[in-house]
Amino acid sequence: MAEQPMPLWEVFIRSRTGLAHRHVGSVHAADAEMALQAARDTYTRRGEGLSIWVVPSAAITASDPAEKGPLFEPTASKIYRHPSFYEIPEEVGHM
């Protein structure tokens, strides 16, 4: 009998307070609790983290890299979304 595949989890670690959790890799584990333990042993052997998130990889919905253009290019032309688009007289000072 072929072995049942072990579920895959994505691992996110907060390295210091004040920083966001960041993706570091993945682990295989039967449940969330074991995924946390595996993530701790695999990715934090040298004090790399203060907090770990594990997320079932199947729960992540990702954008399609082939759709990169239609998704992100429109923002390139919207320069009025940046503060430097607006002219403020020098006398007004820093704004």
């Binding site: 890799g25 052997r45 990702a62």
Partner: protein, 333 residues
């Protein structure tokens, strides 16, 4: 260490790629862009990477065996703690790399199967025995030293997940080499018997360490393609020479000699010139006829088979808990 995998022929049917896509892909590589898991890539690039990364992972995992032999026999608690941490790191490195390989569309179960069936290879170096404590010193100093030489350029390899795994590995690998050299230094400053033990280990590990970089460039069939795709950034011979240049003075500092009568410093080029490597031995070991090939594979298979009930049990337990939670939720509604 483990770019030996790049020297083998790629299996599977030949795929004719769309020349336009291929050109766009090469342009991204040339612009030093990283390729990410869902990006378009030529099938040969994907296959080369799966083979390279998984063989690298297998090497890390099999690499735990020769050193694991010495954990219970380490001469002090300090050495034992360090060796235990090192072997645990090797296991971790294997896991980072398996995860990187899986992003290319191969499953962990398939990768294990390839190793255990003997279809996939691992670095030739781990098929040599660790006869004395000095071998643990030599593995750290020479084998991990050679690995670092090979792995630092891989931190800039073109496939993103592989490069990121290599960055983590390189950060951890430096401790491995230093602890090995410290073992050698302690032995060389000890009794004449201890120094002789260190010399004996160097005599046995020197040539196999040089073989870790793979066959000479003149015989390496796939170097060119791997260089063009920036999977690999230096050739086997370039990396081997760098390793020799870095390592020979370290050996002389220990007061040891190298088992190579032709080894000499070339003033004109600033390189250490070394004698001919026995490539017949390399081929023999890679083909499965090294001193420990059978023992290593038997140990891996035993560990995998004896762990099967644990894997089954945790999956069954998780399924039972999920079912119970569902039932409770329904009852509460």
């Amino acid at each position: 260490m483990y770019s030996q995998a790049l020297n083998e022929r790629i299996e599977g049917p030949r795929i004719v790629e769309d020349p336009e896509k291929l050109a766009a892909f090469q342009a991204r590589i040339d612009a030093e862009e990283r390729i990410e898991p869902n990006d378009w890539m030529p099938e040969a690039y994907r296959r080369t990477l799966i083979r390279q990364i998984s063989q690298h992972a297998h090497s890390e995992v099999v690499g735990m065996l020769p050193e694991g032999n010495w954990i219970t026999r380490a001469p002090s608690l300090r050495r034992k703690a360090a060796l235990l941490a090192k072997v645990q790191d090797e296991g971790g490195h294997g896991l980072y790399l398996y995860a990187a390989a899986e992003t290319l569309g191969v499953s962990r179960e398939e990768l294990y199967e390839q190793l255990l069936s003997g279809k996939a290879k691992y670095s030739s170096i781990f098929n040599y025995p660790t006869l004395t404590w000095a071998d643990i010193g030599c593995i750290g100093w020479l084998v991990d030293g050679a690995a670092i030489m090979n792995q630092i350029p891989l931190c800039r390899t073109s496939y993103g997940p592989y490069a990121r795994a290599m960055i983590r590995i390189c950060k951890e690998e430096s401790f491995h080499q230093r602890q090995g050299y410290e073992i050698m230094l302690t032995l060389c400053r000890g009794t004449p018997e201890q120094k002789a033990m260190a010399q004996d280990a160097l005599n046995r590990w020197w040539w196999p360490s040089l073989m870790m970089f793979g066959p000479p460039d003149s015989e390496s069939r796939h170097t060119e393609e791997s260089m063009r795709w920036k999977i690999k950034r230096f050739t086997n011979d370039e990396l081997r020479q760098k390793f020799v240049d870095a390592t020979v003075p370290q050996g002389h500092y220990l007061g040891l000699t190298f088992p190579d009568p032709e080894l000499r410093f070339d003033e004109a080029t600033g390189h250490w010139r070394f004698g001919r490597i026995d490539w017949e031995e390399f081929k023999r070991v890679l083909a499965g006829h090294g001193p420990c090939n059978r023992e290593r594979m038997a140990a891996r298979r035993k560990a995998h088979e004896e762990g099967a009930w644990v894997r089954e049990a945790v999956l069954a337990h998780a399924a039972k808990r999920r079912a119970r939670e569902r039932a409770q939720k329904i009852a509460a509604e």
